[in-house]
């Protein structure tokens, strides 16, 4: 849904003083950030810094030990069941491995949220499903295939179609380009950016892919030592004097993306 008038000033997602105690240690020690409408934000950090856990807390799958997560202004931990279900239909999630239901075809996977949350007649629903599949760039022949018959890139696209089925305002992505070859990864980045722009989506993605950062992201949030140590546009964050950030931006093979970026300025 693309409101231009409602709640433009209020951030879509707000994480406040979030602490997480997991397996005997503090994973997050006061994480704060917020994301405004229409922003595409990347969450980076080394392995084990709790990016995925943070993402799961934002979605309401895990409960933070302390602090709050506000989605569309509501604290996700305090919501009643019916309210939570309503909020859940306003965001989509793309899981790392796609998490497509393996016993259903692609079309049935995309139809699943529509069946649960809307009362569209079957014919109209099929039309919407068909459109979503085309929208993410899958051939229509993929609709009747099962997830096990799809390549990695096609799985991600099918999962994206399912995440977009209910016209969410907010999209969470866990490593959207992991497991894809560089060409498919760039294509997927491009697709995501086009969809975010045209559907007016807000997106938060956990990623390791430097090319994604340089190519399509508005802002980067760096998670390190349980806290947000940097938060800003990629170019600004990359210049920061911090050991981990310097290593991160120089260790990767994202040189090409960076050069393209600097040529573009």
């Amino acid at each position: 849904m693309r409101d231009t008038d409602a709640g433009a000033a209020e951030p879509v997602l707000q994480v406040e003083r979030l602490h997480t105690h997991l397996a005997g240690q503090w994973l997050h020690r006061g994480v704060d950030f917020s994301i405004g409408r229409g922003e595409v934000v990347a969450l980076i950090g080394g392995s084990g810094t709790g990016k995925s856990v943070l993402l799961r807390e934002c979605i309401g799958l895990n409960r933070p030990s302390e602090g709050r997560v506000r989605l569309f202004g509501d604290d996700i931990c305090d919501l009643s069941r019916s309210h939570l279900s309503r909020v859940r239909s306003r965001y989509g999630v793309l899981f790392q491995e796609g998490a497509l239901f393996s016993s259903l075809t692609v079309a049935e996977n995309v139809a699943a949220p529509l069946v649960e949350h809307t009362d569209l007649p079957p014919k109209l629903r099929d039309e919407v499903v068909n459109m979503k599949i085309r929208l993410v760039g899958l051939p229509i022949s993929a609709a009747d295939k099962r997830p096990s018959e799809l390549s990695g890139g096609m799985k991600k696209r099918a999962a994206l179609a399912r995440a977009l089925a209910l016209e969410p305002e907010l999209l969470f992505l866990d490593e959207p380009t992991s497991g894809l070859d560089p060409i498919s990864a760039r294509e997927f980045d491009h697709l995501l950016r086009v969809l975010c722009d045209s559907l007016g989506l807000t997106a938060l993605m956990a990623t390791h892919d430097l090319d994604t950062l340089w190519g399509m992201v508005d802002r980067v949030i760096v998670l390190h030592g349980g806290k947000v140590i940097a938060n800003g546009p990629v170019a600004a964050v990359a210049k920061l004097e911090h050991d981990w950030i310097r290593d991160y931006f120089s260790a990767h093979s994202g040189q090409r993306g960076r050069e393209e970026f600097e040529d573009g300025i």
């Binding site: 016993s103 809307t118 099929d126 459109m131 229509i140 016209e167 045209s198």
Partner: protein, 373 residues
């Protein structure tokens, strides 16, 4: 959130056709939007102009309907004049009009009966051939292990023996004991009618040792260990652990299958023997309570009416049951393809197939050796 129902104003003039959509053209109101668009009179020979100044919200489902319904009325898309749409909305409309150019193919029809029968017959034949091929692979692995005993994974064998044998002991004991009780109780009612109380010992001991205990144990093991084998090996297949074993230069049959086959073949006769004992004990209990046969009389009679050959015959079937179960279970485990659903499918078919196999083998034994009572 503002809740404005969708509306559509349609003005036909000489200059062309003006459409003024209003309200929320979103997925929650899609049915209304569909009705509005279907009812709209748009003629394709005039230029079409869409004015979005009253539009509150528009999402991709709304755009899809706009594109599809106008197309169905013969409107050619790029020639539509779009007024007062925001930049993002225009991108969305162009994206969707562009992606939706191809018509959806008709849905697949069901398969006719005759090809279905043929396909299933071919599948069954293939299954049988695969089963034999797998048997060959196990035999090969066993022969290798016999020549080089250090190939045999003793630790894995004992672990499996514990899981398949020792851990199954309580349930096998309970089930055979209860069957002994039930069988003796029902038979007791019959023999009492003829005043032939003591013959309950003959009936129960023969039935339990020859048929009931071997069959029950085999059924329990098929459901318990057979299903577990398929699920374990299948899950390893899904996570590519089997491939990892192969890449390490090891044979998955040697590492995974052989210990399980050996364990189940060793465990089954032992469990069945315990089952024999428990079944007879259950019967003795009932005979004592219901028919006033003392334990001493019961076991004295048992000694004279139960030939050791009958017990041995009952036990000799069980390694064959065990081999059949292990073979079917492990083969199905390897047949799992790379998704979660097929693990469940193959586990189910393991239980069904091994039960059928157990009963067929039992029938064969009954026909082949009728002289052993």
């Amino acid at each position: 959130m503002r809740d404005a129902s969708p509306s559509l104003e349609c003005v036909l003039s000489d200059a062309g056709c003006l459409l003024k959509p209003g309200g929320r053209w979103c997925i929650n109101h899609l049915e209304q939007v569909d009705r509005l668009l279907t009812a709209a009179s748009v003629s394709y020979d005039r230029s079409v102009r869409i004015d979005a100044s009253d539009l509150v919200a528009l999402d991709s489902a709304g755009v899809m309907l706009l594109v599809n319904r106008l197309r169905a009325k013969g409107v050619v898309w790029p020639s539509v004049d779009l007024v007062a749409f925001s930049e993002a909305q225009l991108t969305l409309i162009h994206l969707i009009a562009d992606r939706l150019d191809a018509r959806a193919p008709p849905r697949k029809r069901g398969v006719a009966l005759l090809p279905l029968i043929g396909r299933n017959a071919a599948r069954l034949t293939r299954l049988l051939i695969e089963q034999f091929a797998f048997f060959g692979r196990i035999a090969e692995a066993a022969a290798d292990a016999a020549r080089h005993p250090n190939l045999l994974r003793l630790r894995e064998c004992t672990t499996q023996l514990e899981i398949v044998g020792l851990n199954a002991l309580p349930i096998v004991m309970l089930m055979t004991f209860l069957i002994g009780v039930v069988f003796a109780f029902l038979l007791g009612i019959q023999v009492q009618k003829f005043g032939a109380n003591i013959f309950i010992v003959d009936g129960v001991s023969l039935a339990v040792t020859r048929e009931l205990s071997p069959m029950l144990t085999a059924i329990l093991i098929a459901g318990r260990s057979g299903a577990a084998f398929t699920a374990q090996i299948g899950a390893m297949k899904v996570t590519e652990e089997i491939d990892a074993i192969t890449t390490l230069g090891l044979s998955p049959v040697q590492v995974l299958v052989l210990p399980r086959v050996l364990a189940i073949i060793i465990a089954m006769p032992l469990l069945t023997f315990i089952g024999d004992v428990m079944g007879v004990l259950g019967a003795a209990l009932v005979a004592n309570a219901q028919l006033d046969i003392t334990y001493y009389t019961f076991f004295e009679r048992l000694k004279s009416v139960l030939p050791v050959n009958t017990v041995l015959f009952g036990l000799s079937k069980t390694p064959i049951f065990a081999a059949a179960i292990a073979l079917i279970a492990c083969r199905n485990g390897f047949a799992v393809s790379r998704d979660a659903r097929s693990v469940g499918d193959f586990t189910t078919s393991t239980v069904v197939q091994s039960l059928v196999a157990v009963i067929l083998i039992d029938a064969f034994f009954a026909m082949a050796f009728p002289e052993i009572i």
